[in-house]
């Protein structure tokens, strides 16, 4: 964990209620699948947001406006200074991925797949990506994933764009060696049931601190209690109790 001050460079709506925020600051120690915890004026608790992309000195976050905190975030403009805790959570382990990992992101679970896809590609692997949304207006980052060279499938629940249905309806189209997924819990459960290999799941929970101190986000696993914020947010298929 590090405490760093970032400066906002861009903050734009890229899909319905979905914003992409680019910040400049010290990104040392950030890894795919981790999150940052952002302090916002007028709100007591920080807001945990998954890391979408990062490079030296630059951090990209994608967040959905779901409440007053994220609404406030969406109103911030260029030059705003933000207090971030970075390097939070365990992140994805790319070691077991094999040559052809499948990345499955649903809605606000899509962003962490981007940094992960980049990391896997840099290791010489060829990830396929399934992005799931409710409808066409919510789709984002399809082109960005394609630009990385990843086979990209988009599903929408109402069929208004791409494959009609859920991410699980696209899973049959891909042969994969391993999988990584992030999204709402019903989707994670469906992926758990449908998947034919081992894989890693990224979870969400209401958090107090985001760095393992308050025990506000503990879950049970086959190997004991884990804090989503510190021992997660990524858990392996083998340890999940479903």
């Amino acid at each position: 964990m590090r405490n760093e001050i970032f400066t906002l460079r861009f903050n734009r709506e890229i899909a319905k209620n979905t914003f992409e925020m680019t910040l400049s600051g010290d990104t040392a120690g950030i890894a795919p699948g981790q999150f940052v915890n952002i302090r916002l004026d007028g709100f007591y608790l920080r807001r945990p947001i998954s890391v979408c992309d990062y490079s030296e000195g630059s951090l990209t976050l994608i967040y959905k406006v779901v409440g007053h905190g994220t609404e406030h975030m969406s109103s911030l403009t260029r030059g705003a200074r933000l207090d971030l805790l970075t390097g939070l959570g365990n992140g994805y382990d790319t070691a077991p991925s094999g040559l052809r990992p499948l990345l499955i992101g649903g809605g606000a679970g899509v962003p962490p797949m981007y940094a992960l896809a980049k990391a896997l590609i840099s290791e010489g692997k060829m990830p396929a990506v399934i992005l799931g949304f409710n409808s066409a207006g919510e789709v984002f980052y399809e082109e960005e994933f394609r630009a990385l060279g990843a086979d990209t499938y988009v599903t929408t629940a109402d069929g208004s764009y791409g494959i009609r249905g859920f991410v699980t309806d696209a899973m049959d189209r891909v042969r994969y060696t391993y999988f990584y997924t992030c999204g709402p819990e019903p989707m994670l459960r469906a992926v758990y049931g449908k998947s034919v290999t081992s894989g890693q799941f990224s979870f969400e929970e209401r958090m107090g601190c985001g760095f393992g101190a308050c025990m506000g986000c503990t879950c049970r696993t086959k190997y004991g209690n884990k804090r989503i914020c510190k021992d997660g947010p990524v858990l392996t298929k083998e340890e999940i109790v479903w």
């Binding site: 964990m1 590090r2 405490n3 302090r39 709100f43 007591y44 608790l45 920080r46 905190g69 805790l85 929970e205 209401r206 958090m207 107090g208 601190c209 760095f211 393992g212 101190a213 308050c214 025990m215 506000g216 986000c217 503990t218 879950c219 049970r220 209690n225 510190k230």
Partner: protein, 305 residues
């Protein structure tokens, strides 16, 4: 040079700043980003006889100037705390710690305190009779003078370490409970634990917290905590550890003027992991500005005004 030292029941602390139980784990997460030996002490995560998972999630909700939690005393149990956590803690913190003990029966409190009594690194035992998030235990011992006294007597019988009873603000007369603890032999009083509260999710039309209610902490509770420290200071002669929404060095001074000898910092650690360190660093500057030479001189100082 100002003097920030304070003494609690013979234990001299470099400064009165003590991260509060449940907001600091066993110190490791904070030791990652600063040397926690700058602290006066810290109170480790509340410990029970058996390991506890705690309450189902969500356990946390935000409020205006604060937060609710219903963690429900998640902890690995006294055996693991003594066998694994305390040795690990000793590597990152070299001063005596405050051992926070909770329970569901008088016997459990006594058993855990008896075990902790043999731990060299423990300077004070803080007995939590005020957890609002568990049933059939916790707070129920801290809401009547009789049961608070009963726990105090049982614990005092098994330990020679200073015993501080941690009281609940969810009572009608906190002074009476503090007095009962003092009469039963308590060496000090810690207060306040969290205030019971709740939030409702408008979309789901259901409580945000799965446990329905949670304990309110953060700056929102500071004036209530201050008032209760003031009342307890008037009621007892034993030292008080004041807590509840303390966020700044000024808050520490205010708590001490109300009657606290030392001060615990809780929720502030969760929103700013450097909060306790910043308070320790800021304290001498605030003392100079307020012409305070010795911090001990101001304990209860506002009662003369």
């Amino acid at each position: 040079m100002v003097n920030t030292q304070v003494t609690l029941s013979g234990l001299t602390l470099d400064n009165p700043v003590i991260p509060a139980s449940g907001t600091f784990g066993y110190g490791y997460e904070f030791a990652e980003i600063y040397d926690i030996n700058c602290l006066g002490s810290f109170s480790f995560k509340g410990t029970t006889r058996e390991p506890r998972f705690g309450n189902p999630p969500p356990r946390i909700a935000e409020t205006a100037s604060g937060m609710l939690n219903a963690v429900g005393l998640q902890n690995p149990g006294i055996d693991k705390v003594i066998g694994e956590e305390l040795p690990k803690l000793r590597r990152v913190f070299h001063k005596p710690v405050v051992a926070n003990i909770s329970g569901f029966s008088v016997e459990e409190y006594a058993e855990c305190c008896g075990r902790i009594d043999r731990e060299e690194g423990v300077g004070i035992i803080e007995v939590n009779i005020s957890c609002p998030n568990v049933h059939c235990g916790g707070m129920s011992f801290g809401t009547s003078p009789e049961s608070a006294a009963e726990v105090t007597r049982a614990v005092k019988a098994v330990t020679s370490k200073p015993v501080y009873m941690k009281l609940s603000p969810n009572v009608t007369d906190i002074a009476a409970i503090a007095r009962a603890c003092e009469d039963a032999g308590a060496d000090g009083i810690s207060l306040i634990n969290t205030l019971m509260g709740m939030r409702i999710d408008l979309k789901r039309r259901a409580p945000v917290i799965k446990n329905t209610t949670g304990g309110l902490s953060g700056p929102a509770v500071f004036p209530v905590a201050l008032r209760m420290v003031w009342q307890v200071y008037n009621a007892v002669k034993i030292p008080i550890i004041g807590m509840g929404g303390v966020t700044t060095a000024e808050d520490v001074i205010e708590m001490m003027l109300a009657g606290a000898t030392a001060v615990e910092v809780g929720a502030a650690n969760l929103v700013d992991p450097l909060a306790s360190k910043k308070i320790v660093e800021e304290l001498p500057r605030v003392m100079e500005r307020l012409n305070i030479e010795n911090l001990t001189d101001i304990i209860g100082g506002a009662h003369n005004g």
